[in-house]
């Protein structure tokens, strides 16, 4: 069966998913914007048509680009985008406001969005040689550096959502490349130490757990003590990091954890989204008949909360269809990663699969009230030009990873 696929130039599953995504996006964005009295929002539907068409053209065009060219472009593109993001950060810090894009001919370009596939390709290229064993500390550090550089710059913009997207794929890609579970434990443990550090008992429990794992791993005293001390260090330092976060970031985390009541703030957004989804019922209120949507109770309804629009108007059946489409698409991406003949393509496919999965799960979970509001858009469906082109690019690269026989 795979050979059959390789004989065609485009992966059919990916293509069908992309076309259905485009259709859903246009319907949802139309519904979310057509009733607005604000011209700028109203026009977003027409812009989205342009982005979908441009995205599909880009998708097909990229399927002609051989993998080795993409391989060789990875580092230069990474460098260019990093400089652009740095430039935006500087402008932002001078003008004193949040800055995520620059304008070219009236179009807002968001380099951090394009960085998503590029950071994956860069990591994939770095890890593709035989000698790039991630279990060696040097390689591990370089791999993390590749991701942390854009992560830090974008986090500073501030754009927590996008920066987390970069971070989301590091562990899966390294794991895919053969990183040992113990190393993953060593890398991930400080995260738990950080999260638990605000509660004395939770922190004690986490440290105890880490000690047990270290003891059972039988790695020798030096390694064990180093990891132990590192985690204690992180745990004691994190309250300082917390105070360094932006107020709204702290607010979001606290609201999500249910530690503060905030009827008209972040909590309000989630409540309105849940009301929209829940009131949709089994069959939904019908396209353009969602009251939450049409009366604009939904926050950012054409961008981050686009799924609530779909869920309200299309009901459980429609929502399940959207979920299924993402599931099929992501499973296909993992399958491609597992089936690709080349390590670079395989790693890149896994990275992109993770990015799609992370964004979809975090965004859908957010609209349903089971994930924090981090500002992650729903791939392919949310309004946005840079995101649409980025997603189409990644879809094309996924297709290439399985269909191209020659490197």
């Amino acid at each position: 069966m795979l050979d059959e696929i390789r004989n065609t130039r485009v992966d059919k599953v990916i293509l069908i998913c992309v076309l259905l995504f485009s259709l859903f996006s246009l319907l949802a964005v139309y519904s979310a914007t057509h009733g607005s009295r604000v011209a700028a929002i109203h026009d977003n539907f027409y812009k989205q048509i342009i982005w979908v068409v441009a995205g599909l053209l880009l998708f097909f065009a990229l399927t002609y680009v051989p993998l080795h060219i993409i391989f060789s472009l990875a580092y230069p593109l990474y460098g260019i985008l990093l400089v652009m993001i740095l430039g935006i950060d500087l402008v932002g810090s001078i003008s004193g406001g949040a800055q995520r894009w620059f304008e070219v001919g009236g179009i807002k370009v968001q380099p951090s969005e394009f960085m998503k596939p590029v950071v994956v390709l860069t990591l994939a290229r770095f890890l593709s040689p035989e000698h790039a064993n991630p279990n060696r500390l040097k390689n591990l550090l370089i791999a993390f550096a590749i991701v942390l550089a854009p992560f830090v710059l974008v986090l500073k913009q501030p754009d927590l959502g996008t920066s987390l997207v970069y971070l989301s794929m590091v562990i899966p890609v390294l794991y895919w490349r053969g990183l040992s579970p113990f190393t993953i434990f060593v890398v991930v443990a400080p995260l738990f130490a950080f999260l638990a550090s605000f509660n004395y008992y939770a922190f004690s429990a986490v440290i105890l757990l880490i000690s047990v794992v270290l003891y059972l791993s039988r790695r020798g005293k030096r390694v064990a003590w180093t990891v132990f001390v590192m985690n204690v260090f992180v745990g004691t330092l994190s309250p300082l990091v917390w105070s360094g976060l932006h107020g709204y970031q702290q607010q979001r985390i606290l609201t999500f954890l249910g530690l503060v009541e905030d009827p008209r703030g972040v909590g309000y957004q989630i409540i309105q989204s849940m009301v929209a989804i829940g009131s949709g019922g089994i069959f939904g209120k019908g396209l353009l008949h969602g009251t939450q949507t049409q009366l604009r109770f939904l926050p950012a309804q054409h961008t981050d909360f686009i799924f609530s629009v779909l869920a309200e108007e299309w009901g459980f059946i429609g929502s399940l269809a959207v979920l299924a489409l993402f599931f099929v698409f992501i499973m296909r991406a993992i399958k491609i990663a597992a089936s690709s003949s080349y390590r670079f393509a395989s790693l890149a496919a896994m990275g992109m699969a993770t990015i799609f999965a992370f964004q979809a799960i975090v965004n859908l979970g957010m609209t349903m009230g089971i994930m924090p509001v981090t500002g992650v858009p729903l791939p392919f469906i949310s309004y946005g030009g840079s995101a649409m082109l980025t997603n189409m690019t990644m879809a094309a690269l996924l297709s290439n990873a399985i269909t191209q026989r020659y490197f």
Binding site: G281, R296, L320, I370
Partner: protein, 596 residues
């Protein structure tokens, strides 16, 4: 295949688990909890709009509207949407000619930042046009229509009608069951306050579909409505012509007058001056305006006819006369001689006429208002005897007129004097002053007009009241309260005849102090008073009634520090009585007493 199948499967498992969790939550929200969220979404989009009921209209006895409603526009904003929007604040600042900071400060006082807050009432047309033009550009900025009071007959009479203003926090608390909101306009003083519940009507509701910022959606299918019920209309016993005349006569004076129909107790005119413009209270009264009113030495905020009490002076001599006659301490032919003064203890109490009145009887003593006669007469009375009759004439008690905050004055009876001076701290010499209406005695003009009515009707009188009939728009019918007449016990017709004769002569005999109220064609009876007081010139009083044989009206006129009662207040009473009988001649129906 670079990685083992196990790795693939672990990653697939994690993703599948996450999607199952998402689908589970979707099932939970859309199927298990659908009902709850459907209700919430319905609640979200529908909003109950209050429909303000039109306030009842106030008419005079002939149906002339005195207090009506007119539409007025209110600039209101939703504070949460405006207070951090510099553009909107700048726009509002331009409209209101205030600084954005001032507006921000006022918005901070709003009780609920999600509800419209009335920033300025009664905006003019230019501002309204600008609002209509730009309101879509500034979310949260809008206008409402509310009903304001207007006075088509030109009679603002703020002490009588009172005014309406924003409900206070304490009143809001007190009237919880009445469906009131902050910012509602309620009667604050006078008639508007006394009959606020009836005038106000009942709030209605309209359920409309609104969007997230509270704007009404264009599609309004499914909205329901419960109409507001307008307030009741009041027809007063008041006569607009007489009220207008009274207002004009007191334009430059401090004091006022009360004129009542002796046949039913209805108030024909009730005027207190100085007063104020009631409309300043419906707008947003500035603190400066308020301070000016409160600190004005002329005290324009007091209704002098019911909320102030004064020494009545000689107008009260009929009380001592009644007491002496009833207690058989004197009769019609009891003579005393006036040489211009009388000694009591180490003091000389003088008559207003330093030359003396010579020897005179009770009726002539009333006619010329001889103080010496009444000193001597009063000394025959005990304080208890005198106070009994003062009380029978209604002094020291509220008349119960349908206006708020009525004063009851001071009747210095034994209990009062014991309290004020101690049980042994006073003697019956008090009667010297009390008998001529001085001393600690204080009365309100409405008490005095009621006292005059009692004399005019020989003991039979109706409670003083403003309302003649009430129209209920719900039942489309008029309602008239049955007022039972009251009778004063313990004063005989013979006594009334004597003091009425005295009052007749005050106006109609040569040398009477009240000849200024004399009319050619109608017989008027009255009594003047010139009350000493600690605030300068004496207060000028006049009480009277007419026609003498079959009384229709009684009047009490008071000019603060006006000098002689006969000279200052007499002519005013004469003008009012003249106008009353002229009106009656022209159109008997208008001036005829509404049947009780």
């Amino acid at each position: 295949m670079l990685s083992p199948d196990r790795t693939t499967r672990i990653i697939q498992l994690i993703i599948t688990g996450a999607f199952i969790a998402l689908a589970g939550q979707l099932f939970n929200l859309q199927i298990l909890q659908r009902e709850k969220y459907a209700v919430q979404s319905e609640k979200n989009r529908s909003r109950r709009l209050r429909l303000e009921p039109p306030r009842g209209i106030i008419y005079d006895r002939s149906g002339t509207p005195l207090v009506e409603n007119r539409p007025s526009y209110v600039l209101s904003v939703i504070p949460i949407e405006v207070r951090n929007n510099d553009k909107s604040l700048a726009f509002l600042a331009g409209l209101m000619q205030e600084t954005p900071d001032e507006i921000k400060r006022r918005l901070a006082r709003a009780d609920n930042p999600f509800l419209p807050f009335k920033l300025r009432r009664d905006i003019d047309y230019g501002v309204l046009v600008q609002l209509e033009e730009h309101k879509l550009e500034y979310p949260g900025v809008t206008y409402e229509i509310e009903s304001r009071r207007t006075y088509p007959a030109g009679l603002k009479s703020p002490h009588l009608f009172g005014y309406i203003g924003e409900i206070s926090k304490s009143e809001l608390q007190r009237r919880q069951e009445e469906d009131m909101l902050p910012g509602d306009l309620v009667g604050k003083k006078g008639f508007e306050a006394y009959y606020d519940r009836e005038l106000r009507g009942q709030v209605g509701y309209k359920v409309v579909i609104v969007d997230a910022v509270g704007r009404m959606a264009s599609d309004q299918t499914g909205s329901s409505e419960q109409a507001a019920k307008r307030g009741r209309d009041f027809y007063l016993a008041l006569d607009a012509n007489l009220q207008a005349l009274a207002d004009s006569l007191f334009a430059d004076k401090r004091g006022g007058l009360v004129m009542v129909d002796t046949r039913d107790g209805g108030v024909l005119a009730l005027c207190s001056k100085p007063d104020f413009d009631p409309e300043i209270f419906t707008g947003t009264l500035t603190n400066e305006d308020w301070q000016r009113l409160v600190n004005d030495p002329a005290k324009p905020l007091y209704d002098r006819m019911i909320q102030s009490s004064y020494p009545p002076g000689s107008t009260l001599k009929m009380v001592a006369a009644t007491a002496a006659l009833e207690e058989r301490k004197a009769n019609q032919e009891t003579y005393f001689s006036c040489g211009g003064g009388v000694s009591f203890g180490d003091r000389v109490f003088s008559c207003w006429n330093k030359g003396g009145h010579g020897s005179l009887n009770l009726i002539d003593a009333l006619k010329v208002s001889c103080n010496v006669y009444f000193y001597r007469l009063s000394l025959r009375l005990t304080v208890d005897e005198w106070a009994l009759y003062a009380s029978r004439y209604g002094l020291g008690k509220r008349t119960g007129i349908d206006l708020p905050a009525e004063e009851k004055g001071t009747l210095p009876d034994r209990a009062y004097l014991d309290h004020a001076f101690g049980k042994k701290g006073w003697t019956n010499g008090m009667m010297l002053n009390l008998g001529i209406g001085q001393g600690d005695l204080l009365v309100t003009p409405v008490q005095m007009v009621q006292y005059t009515t009692i004399i005019a009707n020989k003991g039979r009188y109706y409670p003083l009241h403003l309302v003649h009939k009430i129209y209920d728009p719900r039942t489309q019918s008029f309602f008239r309260q049955k007022l039972a007449p009251r009778t004063v016990e313990g004063i005989s017709d013979a006594t009334y005849d004597i003091i009425r004769e005295g009052m007749y002569r005050v106006v109609n005999s040569p040398g009477g102090t009240g000849h200024n109220s004399y009319l050619d064609d109608v017989v008027v009876a009255g009594k003047t008073g010139t009350a000493q007081n600690p605030h300068g010139e004496p207060h000028a009083w006049y009480v009277g009634f007419a026609p003498f044989d079959h009384p229709e009206v009684a009047i009490c006129v008071l000019v603060e520090n006006g000098g002689g009662g006969g000279a200052t207040s007499g002519p005013i009473a004469g003008r009012l009585l003249r106008r009353y009988f002229d009106l009656q001649k022209k159109s008997p129906a208008l001036a005829a007493a509404p049947k009780p």
